[in-house]
Amino acid sequence: MGKNDIDSRTKRSLLRTMVRIREFEDSVGEMHLRGLTAGSMLHLSVGEEAIAAGIGLAMQEGDVFTTHHRGHGIFIARGGEMNRMMAEIFGKSDGYCRGKGGSMHIADVHYGHLGANAIVGGNIAIAMGGGFTQNYRKTSNVSVAFFGDGALNQGVLYESMNMAALWDLPVMFAVVNNQYGMGTRIDRASASQEFVKRGESFGLRSLQVDGMDVEAVYQGANRLFEHSRSGKGPTFFICDAYRFYGHGRKDPSPYREKNEEKKWWDRDPIPAYKDTLISADLISDADYQEDLDAAKAEVADAVEFAKNSQVPEENDLYTYVYVDPIDASGTIG
């Protein structure tokens, strides 16, 4: 087996991770339509599972990351527990953020998740700072900023890429390019589509792959991480995929051509990969069914858990504003 070959256990994990994400997201979408989720905003990563699984499984213990507002799948790929994720999305006390964050702000220190972010591009410099720490402490860990194509035109991205390259920080700038920022197609927002050049011009090792091909993502991520882990600095990784649903779950996407949507649905990363693994005899139909059933059960449990979790109480409003609340009797602070 060559250095870049993927062993069959990993292949099954890649598929299983994508299936788990899809099941979770479909269920979250359903719960949202039924009015069980907290808040009006819900962004699903259906169609982007190969990016989450491919990069997520190439990451290692001790690595840290931040995500954009469409980050459920990425966190599942990094170990996120569906129970606590679902509870957070429901706005309940057992959620990762005790119901204070919601879908767009899930964070988990234990798995190195430095927070999902609802400011487009807002998470990027923070991940760069995670890389600063890794460099300061001379670890071989990496830090990943996941963001959408919409953030490609935010200034802070280029400030951060420059700083990371200047100091050889082990940071991956990972673009989940789903072709749209809300209703604006990428070519209507970006003057040039040659994004790899943007990374290269800052001195980042840069790569663009088919984000519907989970193995291409996984192998690309491994190569780029190796670069950073060996002290050679940051990388820029753009993965092309598609947002299968609307911007929010309820957005019917009138600004997209139906045949464009169909073209991408036909490239759905999950069935294609399942077929590849089965026809190569790497997994059986029964293996796949087992993984699918387990994912469905896990998601059903998560929904039950979230439904049964307590709603936060009014007093909880005031906790965790500060580490040290300091009583000076000023209403300020």
Binding site: C97, G129, S143, V156, T319, V321, A328
Partner: protein, 324 residues
């Protein structure tokens, strides 16, 4: 005690804290071999090297964002914006990220980061290099806002800020850097949320902070010659605000002047006078007198001094409050 300049007191705090804790580092534009725009970090790079005296590109958003990420992952960054006037370039990172992540994460993440910045008039630096923008930051829950007036407090508060587990905005005044004062030899940490009685008095409470403390003290001296005994409160930290000390003094004097260099409209003094009006109306002998900077962009050259409160303005305010 040894006598040192405000900037030297800040440098001493940085030196002491960096010696004590190797997680502490300073990052900002020209903080390294240049020594900082106002020479606060001069010489520190020789002691700590460029790994810990990190000169950055001119990228305010990424400077703060980098600090947030570094703080979340276990370091204790002190990041510097050369002028508070540049805070707009980093406001998303400060207000939406640093201030909110502890809360949004349900207490999981903490951001032990100090954001040093410098403001105020006095050097005719013009409209984009002279502002007092503390109100923008005091408005945001999740941040601490510290504004030392004295060299002693500059050192003691910066040390407390560096040891705080919350994000702290630490605002220095450019007009104070060369001011010399006594600073104790031994280590001193000045707590947040404790105002300082800079001068005690019984007739009028004059509430202020940062460089305006000195103008207030001069005005108080002149007022006392005219028989008005003024108590000057140096707030030291705007968040947390030491309302105890304010209340105690106002109950004693029943007469209040608030004075601040920032634009008068919706400034820190607006909040303080509103609160006194809400809670202490029964002891007030006269409406609170609020003195702030003029609501105009700050002009360069000779016009600058007309835009901010002068001793005479404070003196008139004191007399007005005292019913003279």
């Amino acid at each position: 005690m040894s006598v040192m300049m405000y900037r030297e007191a800040l440098r001493l705090a940085l030196y002491e804290e960096m010696k004590r804790d190797d997680r502490v580092f300073l990052a900002g534009e020209d903080v390294g071999s240049y020594g900082g725009a106002y020479a606060v970090s001069r010489g520190l790079i020789q002691e700590f090297g460029s790994e810990r005296l990190v000169g950055t590109p001119i990228s305010e958003a990424a400077i703060i964002g980098m600090g947030i990420g570094a703080a979340m992952t276990g370091l204790r960054p002190v990041v510097e914006l050369m002028y508070i006037d540049f805070v707009g370039l980093a406001m998303d990172q400060i207000a939406n990220q640093a201030a909110k992540f502890r809360y949004m994460s349900g207490g999981q993440l903490k951001i032990p980061m100090v954001m040093r910045m410098q403001g105020g008039t006095g050097r005719s630096a013009g409209a984009q290099h002279s502002q007092s923008l503390e109100a923008w930051l005091v408005h945001i829950p999740g941040l601490r806002v510290v504004m030392p007036a004295s060299a002693r407090d500059a050192r003691g508060l910066l040390k407390t800020a560096i040891r705080s587990d919350d994000p702290v905005v630490f605002i220095e005044h450019k007009g104070l850097y060369a001011k010399k004062e006594e600073v104790p030899e031994e280590e001193e940490l000045v707590p947040f949320g404790k105002a300082r009685i800079a001068r005690s008095g019984s007739d009028v409470t004059l509430i202020t902070y940062s460089r305006m403390v000195y103008t207030a003290l001069e005005a108080a001296e002149e007022a006392s010659a005219g028989g008005i005994d003024v108590e000057v409160i140096d707030l030291r930290t705007l968040n947390p605000l030491d309302y105890h000390t304010i209340e105690k003094s106002v109950r004693k004097t029943g007469t209040v002047v608030v004075a601040y260099e920032a634009h008068r409209n919706v400034g820190m003094g607006s909040e303080i006078s509103a609160r006194i009006g809400e809670e202490l109306m029964d002891v007030l002998k006269h409406p609170v007198v609020r003195i702030g900077g003029k609501d105009v962009p700050i002009p360069a050259t000779v016009l600058e001094k007309y835009s901010i409160p002068q001793k005479q303005d404070l003196l008139e305010g004191i007399e007005q409050a005292a019913g003279r």
